[in-house]
């Protein structure tokens, strides 16, 4: 329908939109307000379904989980705990909780920085205009993102089996003399999880840095070169400071992901040996949905993760926002 047709048909085409003020300025202002109000309402209606789902599926259960964390009992027969914070008291005396906390922090402290540095280096290398086979390299390094966490965990489990590929390769290279029981020893089991996480997520983060590097102002790099800075100085003093917001974002995302680690712990090491590679989310799952379900205590544990995620995000934002 064209404009003239719409007008002829008497459709509510507000003339305030097209021409200047009408003779009766008062009426047109109120008409404009009405249009604005109607549009404001239209906007709220458009965003309502998605917003309600987020409120109902994220915020509401989060509040509910807090109340559940104040209850005790098996399965669905829950009653208020005495004292109310009983589950939280129990948390501090739970050796397995402390162990899973320690495991998660070992993953976090080693894996996140190593991964982000590797991703930065790779992105910087791939951003070179003169590089050949750029697309091939990028696709190859990004490829691990195409497989699910469960799938790659099981591939790694197979490769790191005691009689598996990794031991064969290392023996062939004379790096080790007898097979190592990678998944059966505390230190190596944790190491395999860290290697898996590095393998799966480095390319993912690299893509963020590549996107950010392409939006950088090239004149800043040129200026540094003219001033006689070498490649490393340019990278460290010019590129990195400009990437700070995106490094902050990837840092928060990776921290968040590592604190919620589940698939790898469940499939790759199955938490073993003796829970020494078990993640916190894995322990919550076992408490809530395995053997004797204990929703109250599991919820208290989930609040421990919630508080850590919030605390670490706030901490990183404080560090990331610092100007020097």
């Amino acid at each position: 329908m064209s404009l003239s047709e719409a007008k002829a048909a008497g459709f509510g085409v507000p003339s305030v939109q097209t021409e200047g003020p009408e003779p009766s300025g008062r009426r047109s202002r109120s008409a404009r307000v009405r249009v604005a109000q109607r549009r404001n309402l239209t906007g709220w209606i458009f965003l309502l379904p998605a917003a309600l789902l987020i409120l109902a599926m994220n915020f509401y259960p989060m509040v509910q989980a807090f109340f559940i964390s104040l209850k005790t009992g098996k399965g669905s027969r829950l009653k208020w705990a005495d004292p109310l914070w009983y589950n939280y008291q129990r948390l501090f005396q739970d050796d397995i909780f402390r162990l899973t906390l320690k495991n998660t922090f070992i993953y976090l402290i080693i894996q996140v920085p190593v991964m982000l540095i590797l991703a930065l280096i790779l992105a910087n290398l791939l951003n070179n205009k003169n590089l050949r086979f750029k697309g091939l390299f990028r696709t190859a390094i990004f490829l691990p993102c195409a497989v699910s966490l469960v799938s790659y965990s099981l591939v790694f489990r197979t490769m790191f089996a005691t009689d598996g590929f990794v031991n064969d390769a290392l023996q062939w290279l004379h790096i080790i003399h007898s097979p190592v029981n990678w998944l059966g020893q505390t230190g190596t089991a944790r190491m395999v999880i860290i290697l898996g996480l590095l393998w799966r997520w480095t390319g993912y983060n690299m893509v963020f840095y590549l996107a950010a590097l392409q939006n950088l102002d090239p004149s800043t790099i040129e200026a540094a070169k003219i001033d006689g800075a070498n490649a490393f100085q340019t990278f460290w003093r010019v590129t990195i400071p400009q990437l700070r917001p995106i490094i902050l974002l990837t840092g928060i995302m990776s921290t968040n992901g590592t604190l919620q680690l589940f698939d790898e712990s469940w499939n790759l090491t199955q938490g073993g040996p003796a829970n020494t590679s078990m993640s916190m989310a894995h322990y919550i799952y076992e408490l809530a949905f395995h053997r004797n379900p204990n929703f109250g205590y599991a919820s208290a544990l989930s609040y421990a993760i919630l508080i850590m995620v919030a605390f670490l995000a706030a901490f990183q934002m404080k560090i990331g926002d610092r100007r020097d």
Binding site: A6, A50, L122, N130, L154, I246, L306
Partner: protein, 272 residues
Amino acid sequence: MTDVTRTWRQVPGYVFLIVAAVISVFPLYFMVVSSTNTSQDVLASKMLPGTNLVQNMRDLLAQQNVGAAMWHSTLNAVTTTVIALIICSIAGYGFEIYHTRGKDRFMGFLLLAIMIPFAATMIPLFQAFASAGFVNSTFAVILPTVSTPFLILLFRQSARSFPHEILEAARIDGLKELSIFGRIFIPTMRSTYAAAAVITFMNAWNAFLWPKVILLDNKAQTMPMLVSNLTAGYVTNYGVLMLAVLLASLPTMIIFLVLQRSFAEGITGAIK
């Protein structure tokens, strides 16, 4: 600097990239090759394709209902993608095109949901769906994941580049607000929809923890749950396991290889 020295200075960079590329691709090569070998050959590190693919397939089908799991994964992922794209894109459009200070603040609040760990919501969600009788249902699998602040943000970001003149012209032409969204915004933003579809489909296909919680009946299991269950027995047949892992990864790997650009845009698009 001469061309020769420049070439030489690039050598460490190339070496680093080649090593990174080989390490990235190798486990996937291992998976593909191992799916055609016997369990003994997998453990003997045979790195060439074998002839045991058909036998592995027979063994896998004898143990697990792969067809059903494939169907459930497809159904969950497609339904999630379609619904998520509709409700999140109209929400992102609503937040941006009709933005007011109230809406901006509300969006800031919704973004906090990104920080809520799934572990902290899965128990009440399980209780709610279980007491309403939705255990083992597609409905329960998809509902908690169809609306994400991330997708809303992605579409809000793309709506920012939607030309104001087109919007005004459409209004003058008498188009209703919903028709402007449906007939003009959606076709214009095809690439954003492609990016959002790729990322949502892959996340939904790969989802593990929530389906594992809510799908108690093995008959309703998805592909990731199926491959995870293959290691539950005392002896693992590695050839069969690698074949199952390959089947579970095939759809997402194909999508990745065909639509890599959309995928990259999908994960980074919301933060431009």
